[in-house]
Amino acid sequence: MIDTRTERLLVSEALVVPSGVTAGDITVEPTEARRVPGFVESAFSPLVKAVIDRCLADVTGGAAFGDEGARTGIVLATLGGDATTADLGSRLLASGQVANPLLFFQSVPTTILGVIARDYGITGPTTCVALRGDLRSEALDLVDTILDDSMDQVLLLGIDLAAEDRALSAQAELTDGGPHAGASQVDAAVAFFVRRADSAPESAEVSVAPVADERLAAFGSLAGLAQLYFTVRTRRAAAASGTVAVDVGSALGERRLHLHLGEPR
């Protein structure tokens, strides 16, 4: 049962898969995620920067927000976080090498969001959350809750790296009946820039399927957000306006989120 219906404006979206991926009729072209100074070895932080730069390119033209920066939040959602940095640092230490302070995995998510906040002048809440299973519902619910907590706009970022060795073994241990998402097979990040909607414009509506598309299994925990991205892109390609409805099956109840496809400004 749907408890509530929420209207939001989806201003822009982006998906970056550095290696590219083809699944059925879905193709994502390879994209270079450029190095970010101070972040070494792992693809995590360059990927965060690349997807947000792409998502905001037509919104700010690469410039910082003005006064709106104080009413802008960022949500980073992930399953495994920067497992590459965690594993590399641990492996070096286990083999008796000196610890590299740059492999400071504890604070990678907040630190790269600090870079994003600096570059775009975002001074609202920045939060990083790790979820099990598909990230879409709880991540969108978190965005929605922050918008209701006096913010005007929120940048949602979903990110996971292809699981290897230790991360694969760890995820294989999650056999306790809780929600599972298959391990990510590609490094990927997806971003959505969402605003409060002052009104609910009348427009044709398409719904995003409640269950992630099998063709998107390579995205692991990001499959639901990737599915939302492709649905939005298809809708934008077909018409200048429209609405994408997402049933957000949060643990605190079913909600229907209406994302009205706005244009960047």
Binding site: G38, S90, A94, Q106, V115, R118, T123, T145
Partner: protein, 401 residues
């Protein structure tokens, strides 16, 4: 916030280097006794520093938690013990709690063991409790073990993670989305992060954390796990629960300044405090004490001092402010929850915990840091602040129920 959706604290459980529970905290933190000692749970000989605020069995034991010789206990076990204490204190049925929100980056010790076995040439990698290294698992494991409702979230935003868990729980309760939520966070001193802080030369060379003191030499890590039971006031009143305090306001901001250094004028911390006051509908004169992040680094101390001056103006000079990391050490992801419990006890005991180990005034830090021991003072409202790498800041405003 409507009256029925006001957020209250009805229980807590806490474990630090001083041991388990309220009395351990009062005997240690509130008397200004530092907990720092040589670490024995892992070999510190490769490192410059050997000290941390670690529990070595000489305070109240944490129930049902085993301490291996070569590592800290499982975060899961310590969180479970603290959660049970919080739920028991609140007297609430677990089935009435909508879920668990935890601040933790995941348990590193299984990662250490995995790679040590691999580099040591083991036939099969050591995968014991490896699932705890998946950050999101900690909230799931905790919620499942306690039979809570289905919400499971793990906040991984470093040193504001457990403060964020309290903030998000407060948002959900204040909007009527949940009546009761368990929140908190954990960090237990282990080798991986100790090595990285040591290699970054961030750890205090003299074995003491001296916030706001001119001769400070850095921070020290500390064991810290705390869980709080948050409820709507209506829910707590209907149950006849003993309300310990209200969460009157909260704020979370970003400096938008630097990847690792705090804003020199404390802009983000000030905005977080102002946001908390705005949520509470109060002015800055309503605050009687601030438990600050206070890591004992020069950049943090001066930034926080500037933030307090921005928010409290001339009154800042007379407002009691203390850093309890001077006794517990920096409990990283656990810090927000640990210091929220300390702040709650300060309110309820009418006792301000001191900033310990202070020796020499720093001209750039000119506030009342409560350096002369614990101070008796009737407190109506108290604030606690935290900050993290990347310029993330939080503030929580607690008030007497």
């Amino acid at each position: 916030m409507t009256e029925s959706h006001r957020v209250v604290v009805t229980g807590f459980g806490i474990f630090t280097a001083f041991g388990f529970g309220e009395k351990a905290l009062l005997d240690g933190v509130f008397s200004g006794r530092p907990s720092f000692r040589d670490v024995t749970r892992f070999d510190t000989s490769p490192f410059r520093c050997s000290s941390a605020g670690v529990y070595e069995g000489d305070g109240p034991e944490i129930p049902d938690v085993s301490f291996p010789e070569d590592a800290p206990p499982r975060q899961h076990d310590a969180l479970l013990a603290c959660s049970r204490a919080a739920i028991d204190m609140a007297g609430i049925a677990p089935s009435k709690i909508a879920g668990a929100l935890v601040g933790s980056q995941g348990d590193y010790t299984p990662i250490t063991r995995y790679w040590r076995s691999v580099t040591g040439g083991a036939d099969t990698p050591d995968t014991a409790f490896l699932k705890d290294s998946v950050p999101g698992q900690l909230a799931h494991g905790l919620g499942d073990a306690l039979g809570l409702g289905p919400l499971r979230m793990t906040f991984i935003n470093a040193c504001v993670a457990s403060a964020d868990s309290i903030i998000h729980a407060s948002r959900l309760i204040s909007r009527g989305r949940a009546d009761a939520l368990l929140c908190g966070g954990a960090y237990l001193v282990e080798r991986e992060l100790f090595a990285k802080f040591d290699s970054a030369r961030a750890l205090a060379k003299d074995g003491f954390v001296r916030p706001f003191s001119k001769d400070r030499t850095g921070l020290l890590l500390g064991d810290g796990v705390a869980c709080l039971m948050l409820e709507s006031e209506a829910s707590a009143t209907a149950r006849g629960a003993n309300v310990l305090a209200r969460v009157a306001g909260w704020g979370i901001t970003s400096d938008a300044y630097h990847a690792s250094r705090p804003h020199p004028e404390g802009r983000g911390t000030a905005q977080a405090m102002e946001s908390a006051l705005r949520v509470a509908g109060l002015g800055s004169d309503a605050v009687d004490y601030v438990n600050v992040h206070g890591t004992g680094t020069a950049s943090n101390d001066t930034s926080e001092t500037a933030a307090l001056r921005r928010v409290f103006g001339d009154r800042a000079a007379h407002l009691p402010v203390s850093s309890t990391k001077s006794t517990t050490g920096h409990t990283l992801e656990g810090a927000g929850a640990v210091e929220a419990v300390i702040t709650l006890l300060a309110l309820n005991q009418g006792l301000i915990p001191p900033t310990a180990n202070f020796t020499t005034p720093d001209p750039a830090c000119d506030l009342d840091y409560v350096t002369d021991g614990p101070r008796r003072k009737s407190l109506r409202r108290a604030m606690t602040t935290n900050s993290a790498f990347g310029g993330a800041n939080t503030a929580l405003l607690l008030e007497q129920a």
